[in-house]
């Protein structure tokens, strides 16, 4: 049996677990458990990305989703309650309507998507093929994605880095990491 046939069953298992974790995140009231479940959700997502051959996305998802955002959410939990309040009963149906409509639109769009791994799909056909052919001649970097991000779109990546850095600074100022130490020192003095 071909391994591509086998891995799709693993995909089903991973997606089933993703669904279960998603429902648990919605249902649980203990915010701490929710933070840990979002970390687990990122781990599962990244495992699924690996099986879809999107290794670089999986790398980012594991580092950002499971690593940094878990820590940031814990920092945010310092400033808020440990338990979430149950939502009012009346609001459920409107939200469900919006979610159902968005889901139906997504399902409606599925037939227009290119087949998984299709070499003729728009993402692979035009510029993508040029990149794949040009990278070995232009830059001596083995990974095409890295070459595109850090060389062909270098300024774009620089802008992204600036945005992410200032966002991280803003979050740190908001959450106030390290203020505890300052307060303790002032108390000692």
């Amino acid at each position: 049996m071909n391994h591509a046939d086998l891995t799709q069953y693993l995909d089903y298992l991973l997606i089933a677990m993703l669904l279960a974790v998603g429902f648990a995140i919605v249902r649980l009231r203990n915010l701490f458990a929710v933070v840990m479940l979002t970390g687990v959700y990122s781990l599962l997502c990244a495992a699924w990305f690996v099986s879809l051959d999107a290794v670089d996305v999986a790398f980012t998802e594991a580092a950002v989703g499971a690593g940094i955002s878990t820590v940031l959410m814990l920092g945010a939990m310092l400033l808020t309650a440990r338990e979430s309040e149950p939502a009012g009963a009346g609001r459920h149906w409107a939200a469900f309507g919006v979610v159902a409509a968005a889901g139906a639109a997504l399902f409606f769009a599925i037939p227009d998507m290119p087949v998984y791994g299709d070499p003729e799909s728009p993402a692979n056909a035009y510029v993508g093929r040029d990149y794949l052919e040009q990278v070995p001649h232009d830059i001596s970097i083995p990974n095409v994605v890295t070459a595109v991000l850090s060389s062909y779109r270098g300024f774009d990546t620089l802008g992204e880095v600036v945005v992410v850095f200032s966002a991280a600074l803003g979050v740190m100022l908001l959450l106030g990491f390290g203020t505890g130490a300052r307060r303790r020192e002032e108390g000692e003095d």
Binding site: I139, S140, I141
Partner: protein, 168 residues
């Protein structure tokens, strides 16, 4: 100096493990250059921080430690089978115990190796470190044999600095 050289050797080995074919093939000078630069920067930084010593680059203890890991592997297999027998019974029947284990290791590394070894063998977990020993939680009565702990302590002490227990 010895520790600096061994740190460099470890970093080179790590770089080759993680990007071996690209670096060794010679087709990608950028990758090789980045590797050389990052290794040099790391070594220079650690030198400037003055943390290159026996504790951060434990090459001296590493050799007796590997021999110790061989013995520890046998212990891990034995206690794994014991725990497996306990938890695969149709009816769970365990009698957990909290016991104090005396720890008379000479060095902090020895203490650390001993505590980690206790945790690493299933059935016993170091819960707390106190002044003169560890507080150990054991899954069942059969895991709390003092002679076993004493042997593990002596061996981890020997492994951490290469001397026999007793000649301090």
């Amino acid at each position: 100096m010895f520790y600096g050289i061994s740190l460099t050797a470890i970093l080179v080995a790590l770089w080759l493990t993680l990007s071996g074919p690209f670096t060794l093939s010679g087709d990608y000078p950028i990758v090789m250059g980045l590797g050389v630069i990052s290794i040099i920067v790391t070594v220079v930084l650690t030198y400037r921080m003055r943390i290159v010593d026996r504790q951060t680059v434990p090459v001296g203890p590493a050799i007796p430690l590997f021999a110790y890991w061989g013995w520890l592997g046998g212990e891990i297999v034995k206690s794994n089978l014991a725990v497996l027998r306990l938890i695969m019974k149709p009816e769970i029947e365990v009698e957990p115990r909290l016991v104090r284990v005396a720890a008379e290791q000479r060095s902090e590394l020895g203490l650390c190796v001993f505590a980690n070894s206790i945790t690493l063998t299933p059935g016993t977990v170091t819960v707390d470190v106190e002044d003169d020993g560890f507080l150990v939680h054991a899954l069942d009565n059969s895991f709390t044999d003092p002679a076993g702990f004493a042997e593990m302590g002596a061996r981890s002490d020997t492994a951490s600095d290469g001397k026999k227990t007793g000649d301090r």
